[in-house]
């Protein structure tokens, strides 16, 4: 392990070597504020889950190779993908959201929800291929509701981090998504509506009194 390249919500990411290969070490470190039982439960299950889901998803979309899994040390060693994250590219080229749409649809068609489809979790590799990463929150599911939550999360990210290009990026995302999805467009959009209305201050219901 050499250089810290990113500090996320759960993990520190180091750039290092695995034999002769460039590799990424994803280390889920102890949260000083968290109850210890909960903390180690989350670190263990997510390390295992991420390794398993990265491997499973490889059958459908490009993901980095898993080189090592350490459920006791909470470490994952992954193939290093050199390139740029979608987050840094999207504002100048919103049509790239198309690929996020395609990849999410492929995962969903195979019974997987990603759980955190933000634009930092997509790396445009030097080969010109997009890789999806960060599967710690992903899970197997057959429920359309869970797929819709993925789509909702992506919309949320577009709205806060890519506000300027929201409409165009969302259009491209849907184009990609519905070109591969087995779910009918109207059904998905209805489900999204339902989620976004649920139990919260959603629709405008203004009246004079």
């Amino acid at each position: 392990m050499e250089k810290l390249i990113s500090r996320g919500a759960e993990a520190d990411i180091y750039l290092g070597k695995w034999g002769p290969l460039d590799a990424v070490y994803k280390v889920r470190i102890r949260k000083p504020y968290m109850n210890e039982v909960l903390d180690s439960f989350l670190r263990r299950t997510r390390t295992l889950r991420e390794a398993k889901m990265l491997r499973t998803a490889r059958a459908y979309i490009p993901t980095p190779h898993v080189l090592y899994v350490g459920p006791k040390s909470y470490v994952l060693v992954l193939e290093y993908i050199s390139g740029r994250v979608m987050k840094d590219e999207l504002n100048s080229n919103p049509s790239l959201a198309f690929y996020m749409g395609v990849y999410l649809a492929r995962l969903h068609s195979n019974g997987i929800a990603h759980g955190d489809p933000n634009t930092s979790n997509m790396i445009l590799g030097a080969s010109g291929k997009y890789y999806m990463i960060d599967f710690g929150l992903s899970y197997f599911t057959e429920r359309i509701e869970d797929y819709a939550v993925d789509v909702h999360l992506f919309r949320e990210i577009l709205n806060v981090q890519h506000t300027e290009v929201y409409d165009e990026a969302l259009r491209s995302f849907y184009e990609g998504y519905f070109s591969e999805s087995k779910i009918e467009k109207n059904r998905m959009l209805d489900k999204l509506d339902e989620i976004e209305k649920r139990g919260r201050y959603s629709r405008r219901r203004s009246f004079q009194f």
Binding site: D116, N118, V160, Y201, F209
Partner: protein, 327 residues
């Protein structure tokens, strides 16, 4: 310039006079308490508000040493909230505005929490955790709106705590009592921890905690409930901090008064080279000052309505509201 703010979205009827240099000249409130083990009843609460309103308003003016004629505007909480409660505050505000010929300023309750927090803590461009009865949201200002980074997919943190409290026989709002119970808890009970990206879901946690309270000590369940609920929130706050790199993490709303939560958020901020700005406890809960201060900001930006077009909105998303004074 001075203005009056009237708050009446839920339990609290409040009135406050503030000046445009950010001084709180008065902040008076009276909180409706439903019978033990019961939730808020909108009509009962609104009756309470009508009963206490004259006294609360009079006291707010007296403490500030002003009369209605001295005011530059009258602001009220237009939503979101409970219809009957909102109507009490809005009707009063409309009447006062028409009678004394003062501009009327409708305010979104959640934005009130954020802007008062920003004034009192000095946070300038924070990532915001808005944790009130009706909101559990992570927000950041961008292009003149408060944009939602993450939120609950079902019930809010406030509702989680209140509904659990009610289930174990506490009176609502149950925040302080659940916190006191949790401090006595020792054993950690595993409860569902559900995070999806920047969003969270608390409904599974609520049912599991209710169930656990039937066979485990209530202190242990309260403790575990808080640990899990707060950790979920901390994780999404960390994710949003990692994405935005904001230097300020601000927490506002009633749940912000919880000491354990503040301790956790301190550490969250520290881990990401950020700093925690927590709203002072006495201004964490609903109050007139949040409305008065936001009224000042709107009034300065030229936003006001005619008394006859006063409105209330029981449902009103915070990211639909323009905030012209923000970047």
């Amino acid at each position: 310039m001075i203005g009056l703010g009237i708050e009446s979205t839920a339990h609290t009827f409040g009135a406050s006079i503030m000046s445009d240099d950010g001084k709180i000249l008065s902040n008076v409130k009276d909180v409706y308490r439903p019978p033990e083990g019961m939730g808020i009843h909108p009509r009962e609460a609104s009756r309470h508000h009508s009963d206490v309103a004259p006294r609360v308003l009079k006291e707010a003016l007296r403490q500030a040493g002003v009369s209605y004629r001295d005011l530059d505007f009258i602001a009220y909480s237009a939503g979101p909230g409970l219809g009957p409660c909102l109507r009490v505050g809005a009707t009063l505000a409309r009447f006062l505005s028409a009678y004394y010929d003062k501009p009327l300023v409708p305010v979104h309750h959640g934005i009130g929490h954020i802007e008062l927090g920003s004034l009192l803590t000095g946070a300038r461009d924070p990532l915001v955790l808005l944790l009130s009865g009706g909101h559990t949201m992570i927000l950041a200002a961008h292009m003149k709106r408060w944009r939602v980074f993450g939120e609950t997919l079902d019930i809010t943190l406030g509702q989680l705590i209140d509904q659990f409290g009610r289930y174990v026989g506490l009176s609502s709002p149950a925040g302080p009592q659940v916190e006191a119970l949790a401090q006595k808890g020792r054993k950690f009970i595993q409860l569902p921890y559900i995070v999806k990206g920047n969003d969270i879901s608390y409904s599974g946690l609520l049912s599991a905690a209710k169930k656990a309270s039937r066979k485990e000590a209530v202190e242990d369940v309260a403790y575990s409930l808080q640990e899990v609920a707060f950790s979920m929130l901390a994780e999404t706050a960390e994710r949003a901090l990692a994405l935005t790199k904001k230097q300020e993490l601000m927490v506002v709303g009633g749940v912000a008064a919880n000491k354990r939560l503040r301790e956790i958020l301190e550490k969250v901020a520290e881990r990401h080279g950020s700093r925690l700005y927590a709203v002072p406890q006495e201004y964490a809960g609903d109050c007139g000052a949040q409305i008065a201060w936001t009224g000042v900001l709107y009034y300065r930006s030229g936003v006001k309505v005619q008394p006859e077009s006063a409105f209330i909105q029981q449902k009103w998303r915070i990211d639909e509201v323009d905030v012209p004074w923000r970047s």
